[in-house]
Amino acid sequence: MSFIKRDLPVVISFILGIIVITQYFWIDPTLTITSTTIQGWAVVIWAFMMSIGVINIFIRETRSIISKKAGQWYYSIIIVVFLSCMILTGIIGTTNNPIYLYLFNNFNIPINQAVASLLAFFTISAAFRAFKARSLEVLVLLFSACVVLLGNVPIGSTISWTIPWTRDWILNVPNLAYSRGINAGAALGILGLGIRTLLGYQRSAYGMGAEE
């Protein structure tokens, strides 16, 4: 039982990982078919996993309604009602159902974009109150931010031809160096973490705690 709980997931992960990595480097028809098949199965498992979070929310909000959680239960009713409508209409007639599309186009999209637009407001107030050049490094940050901001809009080139030129230089030279350096480091980190995960040294990905 301990093998099924602790070691079987690592063994499965290792074998499948080796198949997928080997298929990348060694062109073999059997290996390619096996790799393709197991990747197709993983896609189906992903589809099931996407539903777990939704079911969790459904259970939590229903509990909130039943227990009449103070200050929350009326919002939970709204969540449960809208969630049920979206799921039922999305299944009956698939996602082409007119009611599903109506709810998505007229509620999800405007609210989603309105919530995201709040970020513009917070950035504006942060620019005034928080973006202070307290050191040389922050000054470099603010300078490159201002140049990129002005260079992105037509009025920047109207003010001076140097603004869009400097913007392009900053994006294609220091930003490029930073971007390459950060992501090269991240790639090495992914390689290290991947080896640890496949060999079973890092088990948090399987939902096991430190004691396991």
Binding site: N112, V153, N183
Partner: protein, 288 residues
């Protein structure tokens, strides 16, 4: 004394006043558009030229992976590019791997935004273009899709088996496509690592504004043939193709916000440094 109190008041200003100024300032171009010209940058020009260089009737895989958040930025870019693809009679297959809602954008683009162009070009669903919908799994689904399309997609977005769509008879794996257009935000790195790198797929990217600084390195390394981002990218594509649309009309409001942001940064720093200077203790001779 008076200067100090003004700057300290500025430092502690209610942010709702700043927000009202922001809304008012950005509302001016809505009613009085400036219409300043936009310069088309090299990555966008390379993107447009890469597509224009393709022979008519090429087979394009169009990956769209953006949420309703990206709808405002990326859809104008996609509309401009799809208009160009239709004008060149390309065969286009759409799919999304990272964002479920992204499966809804291609029907919107073809049936609403470009309905006139589609009708004028006599474009038929299933013959000239197809929507494969959302295939869950992220990198896994991209990789499996590239190896064998029917391993992960057996029916299209409308539930029709792929064998009943004439266009899909041409496609078994990713190498059957000539070109790939990737749009969105979530799946850019995945598409590059699972589709472009292993199969050397010619690819261009239409991304959101905040992804541009990260994607530049792939453009500079030659991994992608062209790159454009956000509303500015949409405006540049429209400028390059001479098809004015939402991108160009939105730049006035965007530049109002940008100008205000830069102004606030400058004013905020001036008030900070003046307040800092004034708070230094006086030395001999009443100097700081």
């Amino acid at each position: 004394m008076t200067e100090k109190s003004i700057f300290s008041k500025l430092d502690n200003i209610d942010r709702r006043i700043l927000w009202l100024i922001f809304i008012a300032f950005c509302s001016i171009p809505v009613f009085y558009p400036l219409g300043l010209p936009i310069t088309v940058t090299k990555p966008t020009l390379d993107l447009v030229n890469a597509i224009k260089a393709l022979p008519d009737g090429s087979k394009i895989f169009f990956e769209d992976d953006y949420t309703p958040l990206g709808h405002q930025e990326v859809t104008p870019e996609c509309i401009a590019i799809v208009r160009l693809l239709i004008s060149k009679k390309m065969y286009i297959v759409f799919a999304s791997f990272y964002t479920p809602e992204a499966a809804l954008w291609p029907p919107y683009i073809f049936n609403v935004a470009l309905s006139k162009e589609v009708e004028a070009a006599n474009y038929k669903y299933g013959v000239n273009y197809a929507f494969l919908g959302f295939i869950p799994g992220g990198d896994t689904s991209v990789s499996a899709f590239c190896l064998k399309i029917r391993q992960v997609a057996n029916v299209d977005y409308y539930g029709t088996p792929l064998d009943q769509l004439p266009i899909m008879n041409n496609f078994e794996k990713i190498q059957d496509f000539n070109f790939c257009v990737t749009s969105g935000s979530t799946g850019l790195a995945g598409m590059l690592s699972q589709m472009q790198a292993p199969y050397k797929m010619p690819m261009v990217i239409l991304c959101m504004g905040n992804d541009y600084s990260n994607m530049v390195r792939y453009y500079q390394a030659g991994a992608i043939k062209g790159l454009t981002s956000g509303l500015r990218g949409a405006a540049e594509i429209e400028m390059a193709l001479n098809t004015p649309g939402e991108g160009m009309s939105s730049m006035d409001i965007v530049q109002g916000g940008f100008l205000l942001l830069v102004t606030f940064i400058i004013i905020g720093n001036i008030s900070y440094f003046v307040a800092k200077y004034r708070s230094k203790p006086l030395q001999e001779g009443n100097k700081r």
